[in-house]
Structure formats: C-alpha cells, structure tokens
C-alpha cells in the first residue's frame, strides 16, 4: 500500500487489536450486563462510524451543489450507502444485546424508535435516487435530500432520546459513558475500536466509490 493509505493499515491494526483485546481485556463486573458489556466495542462504534461517514456524505453533497461533478455525486451516494449499512448493523447488534439484557428484541424506547425512523429516512434516500432517469436531476435532488436527511436523522439519534426517559445508555438523562467508559480499562479498547471501525467505514465507502467511478469511465469510453 502506498504512503497515502496509512489510515487503511491503521484500521487493520486497530480492528485486529479490538477483536483480541475486546474479548480478553478486563471489564467491570456488572450484574445483568455480565460479559455482554464487551458489546460496547462493537455495537457503539457502528453508530460512531455511521455518523462520521454520513457527515462525509453531506460534505460531498454540499460540494456537489457548489460544483456539480458526477464524481462528487458518486462519493456522496456511496458514503450514504456505507452509513446505512453501518446503521443497519448497529440496529441488529443492538437488538441482540437488548434481547439478553432487557429481555426483548425490540422495545418502544425513544432511542430505538428514533434510530429506526432515522434509518427509514435514509432508506427513502435510496428510493428517491432510484426514481430518476435523468442523471443530473437525480444527483441534484438527492444531494439536497441528503442534507435534509442528515439534519433530521441526527436529532432523532442524539437529541430527542435525551429529552424523555429511556433504557438506552446515552438517552433520557442516562449518561452513555459515565457508567462503563469511565473505566480506564475499557477506554483502552473503546477508543481504538471507534477509530478502527470508523476508518473501516471510510475504506468501504472509498472502495465502493472507486468501483462506481471506474464503471462510469469504462462506460464513457465505450460511448466515445
């Protein structure tokens, strides 16, 4: 790998570290949670990664609206798709964790429902994109929708759940980090996990974008 791919190497090292240390490093002994506290290293970074990659998607969408190029549209689209993937994995892992700590696969918790609605908003982004035949129209309208989707989804994830009661840590006056993460042993794994999984999200989005860009180039060459 070349010099500008150092962050991919960092992602590999951190993720391998997280897989091993996440299972072996000491964690606080807490009732109900037991060893499932280690899910913090895998479930929570999905949402951090999703937020970061969706923010990148908005960045590309804004840049597209300023200078419309097909490349910026492709990068915004693939970043959003990667974010949606991370979010779905986050919902699935959270559901498994909830089953064995709260006793149900899904509860009508504001944090859970907020996340589900936010994912639906992003699902509509994909539907919206697929409903245009004109490429420029598709790129422009989905760029605008993408900005609004981010602005609507973030309060649903991070603000509204804090205004009511919630079981979920980090919602309803329920501090996310005070209980587990003040533990310095967990910080040693949690922060690398967040960085590692976020970098992986950017790597996946970059690979997907490069495939789309190549496809486009080959298509243009065939037309020429």
């Amino acid at each position: 790998m070349s010099r500008r791919n150092w962050w991919k190497a960092l992602s590999v090292v951190l993720l391998l570290y997280v897989a091993v240390a996440g299972l072996l490093m000491p964690v606080p002994r807490l009732a109900i949670l037991n060893e499932s506290i280690r899910n913090l290293y895998f479930h929570v970074p999905m949402w951090f990664g999703m937020t970061a990659i969706l923010l990148a998607s908005v960045y590309y969408s804004v840049r597209y609206l300023r200078t419309p190029t097909p490349e910026l549209d492709i990068r915004a689209h693939e970043a959003a798709r990667t974010g949606i993937l991370m979010g779905l994995v986050g919902l699935a892992t959270g559901s498994i964790w909830a089953r064995f700590t709260w006793g149900a696969w899904w509860t009508n918790d504001p944090k859970l429902n907020g996340a589900a609605i936010a994912m639906l908003i992003y699902g509509a982004y994909l539907v919206l994109r697929s409903s245009f035949t004109d490429e420029q129209q598709r790129a422009r309208i989905s760029a605008i929708y993408n900005i609004f989707a981010f602005a609507t989804a973030m309060p649903l994830f991070y603000i509204l759940p804090r205004l009511t009661d919630s079981l979920h840590p980090g919602a309803g006056g329920n501090p996310a980090f005070a209980k587990y993460d003040l533990d310095s042993d967990m910080r040693l794994v949690f922060y690398p996990a967040v960085i590692g999984w976020t970098l992986l999200a950017f790597w996946l989005a970059q690979l997907a974008s490069r495939v789309s860009l190549l496809k486009q180039k080959v298509y243009e060459k065939q037309l020429a």
């Binding site: 790998m1 991919k8 090292v13 391998l16 091993v20 072996l24 037991n34 790597w203 690979l207 190549l214």
Partner: protein
Amino acid sequence: MKNSLPKLRTGLLLLVALLLPALRIAAQATAPNEPEMADTLRQNGKIYVVVAVIAVVLAGLLFFLISLDRKLSRLEKEVRE
C-alpha cells in the same frame, strides 16, 4: 512494495504492544458473590480458541479488502492509460 516488510514489522510490534495489558486478565482475582463473568471459559483456556478464530476471520476479511483495494488500483491505472 520494496519497503513493505519493515512496515509489516512495525504494525505487528504495535499490535503486540497494544495487547500487552490483556495479560492482566490472568491476574484478575475472582471474589465470591460477584456478578457472573466468563471465568470458567478462561479457566479452561478455551476462550482463547474463540479469540483466535475471530482474529483469523477478521484477518481474512481485512486481507480480502486489501487485495480488492490493490486490484482496483491496478484497474484504475489500466483505464487511465
């Protein structure tokens, strides 16, 4: 490609250094009446088998990503020419 070996060594050393605190788990004392953790698994030593399997699976996936990345780079170069 030429200087990828020292980089690999640096990466491995970094990984080993990061994992050193995990040795402390061996020294973690278990008092009675504490919430149940995977102590038996550790006593049997079998948890390390699971950790090794997960590490191999993840390494395989990441290796696949790296090779995909390289293939794409080559293809991009070909299309550019």
